[in-house]
Symmetry: D2
Subunit: 336 residues, 4 copies
């Protein structure tokens, strides 16, 4: 059994991660940490886990934690995450990081968009980006993987192969995303107070969302091509799921059918990416690690729709997929 610990285990992604790991045949959860000095009981934070797991929250003590785990899943906010991860790596522990700290290609872009000094700048750009379908080989041998952002996952899975094949124009690429409210995290906030977002839909962070440079840089890393995505997130009144509607212009002579065919070919043997004839819905991928993608023409553009569960394929499912690769396990263990 591989012993795992979760750093910052009070939120929604951590809850989903625990549920997946409880089903995983090769894993034992040994540590759950919280930054709340009162260390509430697991049942009071995650009542759905009552009687399922006999581990309570503790404050993070690096030495003690490191002695009890083989792998850490780190669910801390950006900057807080990297500050701890370098210490965990020093102890010889493998880490999957849920934050944005190691996703980008360079520290300058990180500090420009996150407005904070990076605690571990040397590693930026050296850490594999945790979409196994795109970077599997690098993930397999990594000590640290940067788990991808939920919106970037929904954009990169369809876009990366098409840009690599050079069959769509680099501009315009418009990603109009709709996310469930769990994507905003578990901290109460007027914007996500039930009566504020129920019976409503809203765009936010127009032109300023931090996932925009992440999409662009990972495309560049994977394909060598520079693109400038126009990304607009929206929050809709549901708990979980991201639907991204992506508008691209095919290169001269290329049809929607060609784009669909290329994606089908690229993902032919992947267990978690499915190319669909009808536009996918978030309902059909909720609580799963699938990303479903359709490709349909709309006048001179092509509309690609991708759907995934922001907490699973967009976070904790991808994290376990990465973990499986890092430890040489079956990639889909715990995930089907």
């Amino acid at each position: 059994m591989i012993r795992v610990g979760i750093v910052g285990a009070t939120g929604y992604t951590a809850l989903e991660l625990i549920k997946i790991l409880l089903r995983h045949p090769d894993v034992e959860i040994t540590q759950l940490t919280s930054r709340d000095p009162d260390c509430p009981s697991l049942e009071s934070v995650h009542p759905g886990l009552r009687q399922q797991l006999d581990v309570n929250f503790s404050l993070l003590d690096i030495a003690s934690f490191a002695s009890q785990v083989d792998c850490a899943f780190c669910c801390l906010p950006h900057a807080a995450s990297a500050a701890i991860i370098s210490k965990l790596l020093d102890k010889g522990i493998k880490v999957v990081d849920f934050s944005a700290d190691y996703r980008l290609n360079d520290v300058g872009t990180f500090e420009q968009w996150y407005q904070v000094e990076h605690p571990d700048p040397e590693r930026i750009g050296q850490v594999p980006y945790g979409i196994p379908e795109l970077f599997r080989d690098r993930i397999k041998s990594a000590e640290l993987v940067a788990n991808p952002g939920c919106f970037p996952s929904s954009a990169l899975l369809p876009l990366a192969p098409l840009i690599q094949q050079n069959i769509i124009e680099p501009s315009p690429i418009i990603v109009d995303s709709k996310t469930g409210v769990s994507g905003a995290g578990r901290k109460p906030n007027l914007k996500f107070h039930f009566p504020e977002c129920n019976e409503s839909v809203a765009a936010y962070a127009i032109g300023t969302h931090r996932h925009m440079p992440e999409i662009d840089q990972i495309i560049a890393r994977f394909t060598g091509n520079k693109i400038t995505t126009i990304f607009t997130p929206h929050v809709v009144a549901m708990n979980r799921g991201i639907l991204s509607t992506i508008y691209v212009k095919p290169k001269e002579g290329i049809t929607a059918e060609v784009l669909q065919h290329e994606l089908a070919k690229f993902y032919a043997t992947e267990p978690f990416v499915r190319i669909t004839q009808q536009p996918p819905t978030t309902k059909d991928v909720a609580n799963t690690n699938f990303c479903d993608i359709s490709v349909l023409p709309n006048r001179d553009l092509v509309v690609i729709v991708s759907a995934l569960d922001n907490l699973i394929k967009g976070a904790s499912g991808a994290a376990v997929q990465n973990f499986n690769l890092m430890f040489g396990l079956t990639e889909s263990a715990g995930l089907l």
Copy 2:
């Protein structure tokens, strides 16, 4: 008091129309028709109206109906609507038509997109399109007004002035719309069965939605310019509201601020269109006749967000605004 009748009064737009008209100081509802031969009681169809209106459903008899109303609101499906409207007009009654029958510029486009023979082809192209902010003068003198589609309303209000001013490129213009489920009507259907659309978001009718030619033709009618909109509707898990996220490319040297300024100027004296600094939400316009619009930059494009209530400003509120103009009443009567 102006006597009004509603043809096809069992659906959601009719219910909202009745609620508005019950508050209207100059209106008496005298007729409600249904195509159901059993003519259910008003309370059984619209329980919320119990004790509020002493009119029951009857089958439509043109002569009898015409003798008891000064104005008809026609809420029938396309083709069924035009078949009746020509007869009502012959009786000297004014009509506001909720269907698509008289919205387009030519019968060929209608028959291509609606796949049915038009029952009254001579009138197509002669009927004012019922967005008062764009076509007020023609509406004032009309016997028949084509009430606009809900998605086109959300797209045309922001786009028409900008294209008229020639400050955005004609292509690409992408309209990514999110609608509440009431937009699909009241007829039960697996797609809109509660567990199918709750906790989900879905794109539909990609490249094939009938509101696409409507947007293009009305832009052409208002501005003389031809555009080809890329329109994609989505259904989200809420009852009412449309949010349209519109991606446009400003002409060389034009900024988002300029676009916003022009819209603010165009709508400066309009009671029902508000230009906002922050992106509007559907919650803030629900149950009102407002359309709120924001304009924000996103890299080399500009993102315009418009929000309206699909049943009010997108249907019944606009209809009453048109009715008020047709009868020389205060335009906002019943609507604030």
Copy 3:
């Protein structure tokens, strides 16, 4: 025009109150107060009101406030409310109080259930309880009215006439209520964070809810009979509405039909209480001042279902009904 001010106008009940008053033919809103020293703009707090009302938030200054209003609606929390109201009354202003401060019959019960010293104990028990259907005459001549709790409104409207007629047993009386989340107010809280209450239903405050003594004491005040209600509130995933399912045992020989008949007789001329054949739904009373009530047999008990909008008939609509009575206006002004 009667000049009104709203004390504590940043919450959901205040927003609904403003919307109603904007439609009221005899009212001018002149003052809106907030306890936030930054006094945000009205648009930033209630974006839906943009361009509808040219009054901004100010801090409450009793003398200045009193010189500009004829009536105050006080939307402060309990204890904070009574501390201010006595001063407003001293200035000769009429007041409708939304808090629980003046609802109960005696200060002892208040201090037992609210665990705070009452700032104005002399007035308790002297203030009319603001359900016009039960206490209209006293309200008409009052300077201060205690606006009722939302759950008590839904229980008292059906129960009071039946207990007065002595046709149901005093025990058991079980009130199982389901409320939308707006009933919890606008302050962010993990319990009402969207992903926590969406797709869920939960009972709370079992045996400890403060509306329990309110129901009992007002029944006693209206009928002279003592009852001990078993009340259990539940929060369901919707914005607004309360459905109370009330289980009563008819006296020997009394049927459900008799109970229904008595309620129909009692409310025969009331504009805002409707007795229905089918169980009412919250959807059909949402955004209205109606309370709908059905009475149906279930074995040896009778099940009464009442439905109202917690923010309207359960709060701001009732408040305007009370205001209308206090100022000699048409009782339904602004409310239909």
Copy 4:
């Protein structure tokens, strides 16, 4: 591997059953039947299952079906179910029946409440009722098990041990249940059309719901005591989950603590029933096979709240639990 077939596999319970069985280590799904003569593809009916299961729908042919399965899960409507089950049993196949056909104690009660002639009256009363926590031994040796109703499961799990212990009064026992909309099945119907039940809560079938005699008869079968439950179901705006709020009167001298203690003792070793201190929520049991139960005092009554997922512990999870027992497998296989 045990070969299983699902008869009537197009609905929500069948979908959940398939998902559970796909995770079950000892099961192979070999047959899925539909009554639709067009036999749509599995992906078109259940898009979430695409690429997960290589079985398509077929029409039921008893001989062919029986040759390919060891166990049938029958998800047909009542009466249709029993007509087929007797034939399947004749072929030597074990059956778990989701319908109400074999749940009651006698054919008279069945025909009175279901208003249809029973196709297999001899078996009624002989078939174990499929709540393993109450009838485990009989289920283990059964060829046919009557899977319980979703509401009865939520009522029987808390009530049966308390009535058996004779520590609550037989009357009144009030079960006020709130269910998600998936409980109404997948067939489109105006009542469950999204805009009709979103933002609403409604009571239905007051005094007439078929689960009322089921609760009473199973209590009688398990305890020998006759009770007459007052049961009222409500539909709330969520997909899945049942919360039952149960009002009971403890026998003289018995407290809520005693009742809680007895339930904790009764379920001490059960993997799927959890006694909680705080009232449970449906969110915390959604997508699981747990039933969570709390016991709290409210004046002279006790309020028991039980929560389960109507599609899992209330249907398909219980069915797999029964299946595991019938085939001598680990009872929780596929369910944790």
